[in-house]
């Protein structure tokens, strides 16, 4: 009806109001217009009814948790819903803690977590008659990047911590050239930021109150970090391994003084020897059944190709990253 009205007022004849009642006297274009309108109206409901599949049984999976994983979880959900139109997956962020709490309360089916479930959370779940089951679904590794011309090849965790808290301010102090260090970080809302703060700046010590130096440049995006690292020989930055482009130099990291430096790659991350990496988990209530079981199995196999696209490390080596970062020493400027 709305369409018909609109046509009426737009009609070129200018006698639309009367013509509606005296179609015979109408100029031909208007007649055509009216005809096409009625055809449109007739077609509209028919086509939409045809497109919607009439499935009576739509299963809904509630998925909630880690903000770090929310984009990954959304990508998985979209792909899976495309493959299985009979399943609806709703994904919400809120943080790992929120997701696990919701799992314990029984409001969600799958909780995403970028950390392992805590013993007291397992305790509470048991008290609620729920047994959380853990699945590793991907890995997250953070690469330390510098300008390709920077002669420094590796840093210890402690050196990185001292650099980011502002106690080391010149590359000379870690074996590089006599240049000031420019610190780059993601904005404080990024999950990578929190992980880096807790595990690198504070070196995993929960009693450590260290913060990033106030001189740290907070970049709103991965592109911001790579643009600055690409062109500034003073810069040091960090980002998810999958976001690192070939024109940046990736540093090897040593966990302790006498360990061998490890360059981040799909292999070293999966072997667990690269120190700045963590598994990403999905938790279910008890052993998953039917649809949820199938979904998690798909995530750990077919879904892995999405993992590298979003900057994480897939579970298997044969799924290669979009950028070859296993040999960063040969990285060159474009």
């Amino acid at each position: 009806m709305g369409a018909a009205m609109a046509h009426r007022y737009r009609s070129p004849a200018g006698c639309a109001g009367k013509c509606l009642w005296r179609l015979t006297r109408c100029p031909e274009p208007l007649l055509l217009l009216l005809l096409s309108t009625s055809v449109l109206i007739a077609c509209a409901p028919a086509s939409s009814a045809h497109e919607l599949p009439r499935t009576a049984l739509v299963t809904t999976i509630e998925n909630m948790g880690s903000d770090t994983m929310v984009n990954l979880a959304l990508a998985w959900a979209e792909d899976y819903m495309h493959l299985h139109p009979e399943v609806r997956i709703s994904v919400t962020g809120g943080g790992s803690g929120t997701g696990i709490a919701a799992l314990i309360n029984g409001t969600v089916d799958i909780a995403n977590a970028s950390r392992e479930i805590k013993p007291e959370e397992v305790e509470r779940a048991r008290a609620n008659g729920v047994t959380p089951v853990e699945f590793t679904v991907a890995r997250d590794a953070i690469a330390i990047v510098v300008h390709p011309s920077n002669p420094v090849d590796s840093l210890t965790l402690e050196q990185i911590s001292r650099i980011y808290t502002g106690r080391i301010t010149n590359w000379r102090e870690v074996g590089g050239e006599d240049r000031p260090i420019v610190l780059l970080s993601r904005e404080s809302n990024s999950g990578t930021y929190v992980y880096f703060l807790e595990n690198v700046v504070r070196m995993g010590n929960p009693n450590d109150e260290s913060l990033f130096s106030p001189d740290t440049l907070l970049m709103p995006s991965s592109e911001g970090i790579s643009a600055e690292v690409r062109q500034n020989p003073n810069a040091i930055g960090y980002d998810g391994l999958g976001y690192v482009t070939p024109d940046q130099k990736v540093l090897a990291v040593t966990a302790r003084e006498d360990d061998a430096p490890v360059i981040p790659s799909v292999e070293t991350v999966n072997q667990g020897i690269y120190p700045i990496s963590r598994p990403l988990y999905m938790y279910t209530v008890g052993e998953p059944q039917s649809v949820i079981k199938d979904y998690i199995e798909w995530v750990r196999t077919g879904g892995q190709k999405r993992v590298a696209e979003l900057g994480f490390v897939p579970l298997r080596e044969r799924v290669t990253l979009s950028n070859d970062i296993s040999s960063p020493a040969v990285a060159v400027l474009p």
């Binding site: 903000d67 240049r179 000031p180 260090i181 420019v182 904005e187 404080s188 809302n189 929190v194 913060l211 106030p214 001189d215 740290t216 440049l217 907070l218 970049m219 709103p220 911001g224 643009a227 600055e228 062109q231 500034n232 003073n234 810069a235």
Partner: protein
């Protein structure tokens, strides 16, 4: 015939009354929306000033995830970037306006005016990208500073964004100076330059002040480009070299942090608190911009 005429006339009056009241409702609702937005800002942001001790929010460290809400580095950062932008944009803008209005031949004016207005249409994210990839490396290498993402880089980009506003408003102000002033000056034997510099520009002074104030308002509220090129390090810009070091502005802070903050938390209120500070600052600037206009009207002088 006459009867028909009368009915159409009453109909016209009736529909006019309807349209009039509609316009009135729309007009008042605009004002109403502004008031509502202000009230919303106050409601969300005021608790911040009561919940957080003065010593904290007047402190020098902005680290909201760990309860440090020092807004001073942000306020000073915004002021530093904005003022520097105006210092760069004012001579350029004024010179462009004088050239377009007083010096350029007619055909050049016809080309230049729309071109300057097109400048205003460039999206700020494009300028930000340009600043990040072209201006920042240039600033770093030519000035030999640790990083090109500095307050100065932000000021250059902001100056560029404020230029169209300054040029077109200043050009209008010069245009409003009566021809008789110029004729009188020339008749007294002044050169063209003397007429421009000693007669026309001073006569258009208040309009130029308005241009600067509007440019200032445009610059202080700009977010995207600033966030991309100033480095966003919340450090106190107190040392002499601060202009060539990173800063964090109020707008960039709100834009960068609002997305992930928990609603109703102190951090959330803090961001609205910064919004209030920003609102008050822009209000003062607009007030300062409006003053010369009112003064002029009272004197019944030039327009």
């Amino acid at each position: 015939m006459l009867k028909g005429d009368l009915t159409t006339r009453t109909k016209t009056y009736q529909s006019e009354a309807v349209i009039e009241s509609l316009i009135r409702v729309l007009g008042f609702s605009t004002i109403g929306f502004v008031v509502l937005i202000f009230l919303f800002l106050l409601r969300q942001g005021m608790p911040f000033f009561f919940q957080v001790p003065w010593a904290n929010f007047l402190g020098t460290r902005w680290y909201p995830t760990f309860g440090l809400f020092g807004t001073l580095p942000l306020i000073l950062g915004s002021i530093l970037v904005t003022l520097t932008a105006i210092v760069i944009a004012l001579p350029l803008g004024l010179a462009t306006a004088v050239f377009v209005r007083e010096v350029a031949p007619n055909w050049a004016r016809e080309v230049l005016k729309p071109l300057i207005e097109v400048l205003a249409g460039i999206p700020s994210v494009v300028l930000g990208f340009f600043g990040m990839n072209i201006v920042a490396p240039l600033v770093r290498t030519t000035l030999d500073v640790p990083t090109g993402l500095t307050a100065f880089t932000g000021a250059i980009i902001l100056a560029y964004m404020a230029l169209p506003t300054i040029v077109s408003v200043a050009e209008d102000a010069l245009d409003a100076v009566p021809k008789s002033y110029r004729d009188a000056g020339l008749a007294l034997g002044a050169t063209k330059w003397q007429v421009i510099w000693r007669v026309v520009v001073p006569a258009a002074r208040s309009g130029i002040v308005v241009a600067v104030m509007l440019g200032l308002g445009r610059a202080i509220g700009e977010t995207m480009a600033v966030m991309m090129v100033t480095g966003n390090a919340a450090r106190m810009p107190l040392t002499l070299d601060s202009l060539f070091r990173p800063v964090r502005t109020m707008t960039a802070t709100i834009a960068a942090e609002m997305g992930e903050v928990a609603q109703g938390s102190v951090h959330f209120q803090a961001l609205f608190g910064i919004g209030i500070i920003l609102f008050v600052l822009t209000f003062l600037i607009n007030l300062a911009a409006a003053r010369p206009i009112f003064q002029k009207r009272r004197r019944g002088g030039l327009r």
